[in-house]
């Protein structure tokens, strides 16, 4: 599936957060897991838990896994993502995929530096107040500021604000 699952995950998370859901699930893939963990590091989601087809109980959300993955249950695994709200408004309001299967958008470190300062580079618009980019790099899925810190560029996945 590759980048397509990321665009689907972005759409789904945006829909879920606008519907004021507290907990939603994504297909359990490595790519989705890395993106969800990057969102979690950025403070945009409250929890990421691998569970079954049913939502895990609230106490299980603190753990990363509800039950160990086995050959029997691996096909039914889902990533359960807790969504955050503050002051009656979602913390993560907009998720817009940047790369799509028909056009992959990559950015080098100098380009990312410009974008992070708010200036447009090629197809990338400058970041506005509260916006952030998520990239798929050699070091995994990183937020733009993490990538700049580690001086690594990569494939631009999505823009979140």
């Amino acid at each position: 599936m590759g980048i397509a699952s990321i665009t689907n995950a972005c759409s789904h998370l945006q829909n879920a957060t606008r519907a004021r859901l507290g907990l939603t699930s994504l297909p359990s893939t490595k790519y989705n897991l890395r993106l969800a963990l990057a969102l979690h590091r950025a403070g945009l989601v409250s929890s990421v838990t691998r569970g079954g087809p049913r939502p895990p109980p609230p106490e299980a959300l603190l753990a990363t896994e509800v039950e160990p993955v086995t050959a029997d249950n691996v096909a039914t695994r889902r990533l359960w993502v807790g969504l955050k709200y503050w002051n009656n408004a979602p913390v993560m309001r907009n998720l817009a995929p940047v790369s799509k299967p028909s056009r992959l958008v990559t950015a080098t470190v100098p380009e990312l530096a410009k974008v992070a300062r708010g200036f447009p580079v090629g197809p990338l618009k400058g970041l506005n107040l509260g916006e952030t980019l998520f990239l798929s790099t050699d070091l995994g899925v990183l937020e733009v500021r993490e990538a700049l810190e580690r001086k690594v560029g990569g494939l631009v996945l999505c823009r979140v604000s």
């Binding site: 503050w86 002051n87 913390v91 506005n128 107040l129 509260g130």
Partner: protein, 449 residues
């Protein structure tokens, strides 16, 4: 010689040292008294006849009509004028400014004067009597017409015995005492009967009790209100007092001395209460008419045209409000819109007191307004209405574009909505659980603009 003598020449004339000397007439005059023209006794006689003092009876009569203050004023006026002066100096005026009639205003002339209204106004608290009050009033009226004898007032036999027998029962009285008492009591009863007969002689025709005239007077003239039968000059109730409770101050604004005469009409008094601003502060606000339209309502009577106005007001330091008002009178619409704009003023977030936070987009109908923060010194590169809004709000660096419809009213509303809905970095940081620092305030000790 000129009429007004210069003061300098008067000084030179040397009279100052001796004071103003009385000028002696060149031809000596003779006083009237010396010629026998004035006789003091004649003057006194005339004075007493024509200008007599009030007698004690007259003063008593006046006291019934006038209050003590008025009586005091009358007495002061009497004391101020010497009647002799009236005799000696009183003349009929012949000057051009004399009144065209002769009158000392002592009497009321019905043709010339307005009717004297010397009775009190109707009782403002009077109401129609209820059944009990009416009954009591009727009894009071009927009691004035005495019918029959008053019982319980006649003496009894006991009153005619000596004191030592008064507490003794009648059976134990001695014969002499009893006979004397009987005789005296008999005499007393006869006397009383005669007295009553004499008293009733005048009432014989009426058989006592009210006459037809009394009944008619009762029906026509007795007040049916609880005003104690007060007579007045007018049947109208007294006019409303100048200060009606509950209404006082609503329509006539008292001029506040704090305003310094800047709001004598009172148009800002309501705003003062609502906003807590002084009139001077209200007048110092930036305000501007942004949109003026002619709108009309089509009715069966034709088009009813009105002026619709959008006004913007701000204090130039982060507060901004817009007001929209309609009226058939353009000036009233403008005033209403301006007052509304001042009332609607609210704080606008400003970054470094010069621009906005990030970029904001707002849409009203087909009008989209995009605004972006800009660095210091950028200026206001915005359309003219947004320029006025920024100036009123105290924003000096801003870029704005209106990519779609540029409807005046919608662009003003969208711009106001955008300014009021800027992102708040602190809220975002709290939501994400991150620490957020503005680096512009970190470098160079924060001295960046």
């Amino acid at each position: 010689m000129s009429v007004a003598r210069p003061a300098a020449r008067r000084l030179i004339s040397g009279r100052l040292a001796s004071g103003p000397a009385r000028r002696r007439p060149r031809f000596a005059n003779v006083r009237a008294a010396d010629m026998g023209l004035m006789d003091e006794s004649q003057i006194d006689k005339f004075t007493k006849e024509k200008f007599p003092q009030y007698t004690k009876e007259e003063i008593e009569q006046l006291r019934t009509r006038y209050s003590p203050e008025q009586i005091a004023a009358l007495e002061a006026g009497e004391a101020a004028i010497n009647p002799r002066d009236l005799t000696v100096q009183g003349r009929l005026r012949s000057d051009p400014y004399a009144l065209p009639y002769i009158d000392d205003f002592a009497e009321n002339q019905p043709i010339v004067d307005k009717r004297a209204r010397n009775k009190e106004a109707p009782d403002p608290n009077a109401r129609f009597m209820n059944l009990d009050e009416f009954t009591e009033d009727l009894i009071n009226w009927a009691d004035k017409f005495q019918q029959g004898d008053v019982t319980g007032t006649l003496k009894t036999l006991v009153d005619f015995v000596p004191d030592e027998f008064k507490k003794v029962p009648e059976g134990r009285w001695t014969k002499e005492v009893r006979d004397d008492a009987q005789r005296a009591f008999q005499r007393y009863l006869e006397g009383e009967v005669n007295k009553q007969a004499k008293k009733n002689e005048g009432f014989l025709e009426s058989e006592s009790g009210p006459t037809d005239a009394d009944v008619l007077q009762y029906i026509l003239e007795r007040s049916a209100m609880t005003d104690g039968n007060r007579t007045t000059n007018s049947s109208l109730a007294p006019a409303l007092p100048s200060k009606v409770p509950g209404v006082a101050g609503l329509y006539k604004n008292a001029i506040d001395p704090e305003d310094g005469g800047m709001d004598d009409i009172g148009i800002y008094q309501d705003l003062k209460k609502r906003t807590g601003l002084t009139v001077r502060a209200i007048l110092n606000l930036h305000n501007k008419c942004l949109v003026r339209r002619w709108v009309s309502n089509q009715t069966r009577l034709g088009k009813v045209g009105k002026t619709s106005i959008v006004w913007v007001a701000g204090n130039g330091d982060g507060w901004l409000g817009i007001g929209e008002a309609k009226s058939t009178e353009p000036t009233i619409a403008a005033l209403k819109a301006r007052l509304l704009a001042i009332r609607n003023m609210r704080p606008i977030r400003r970054y470094e007191n010069r621009t906005i936070y990030g970029s904001v987009t707002s849409k009203v109908s087909g009008t989209v307004v995009k605004m972006s923060a800009r660095p210091p010194g950028f200026g206001l590169r915005v359309s003219h209405r947004i320029f006025e809004m920024c100036r009123a709000a105290g924003i000096s660096d801003l870029a704005a574009s209106i990519p779609r419809s540029r409807n005046p009213m919608n662009s003003v509303k969208a711009a106001y909505h955008a300014l009021c809905n800027q992102p708040n970095p602190d809220e975002i940081a709290i939501g994400r659980g991150k620490k957020l620092v503005d680096v512009r305030k970190v470098y160079y000790g924060g001295a960046v603009h």
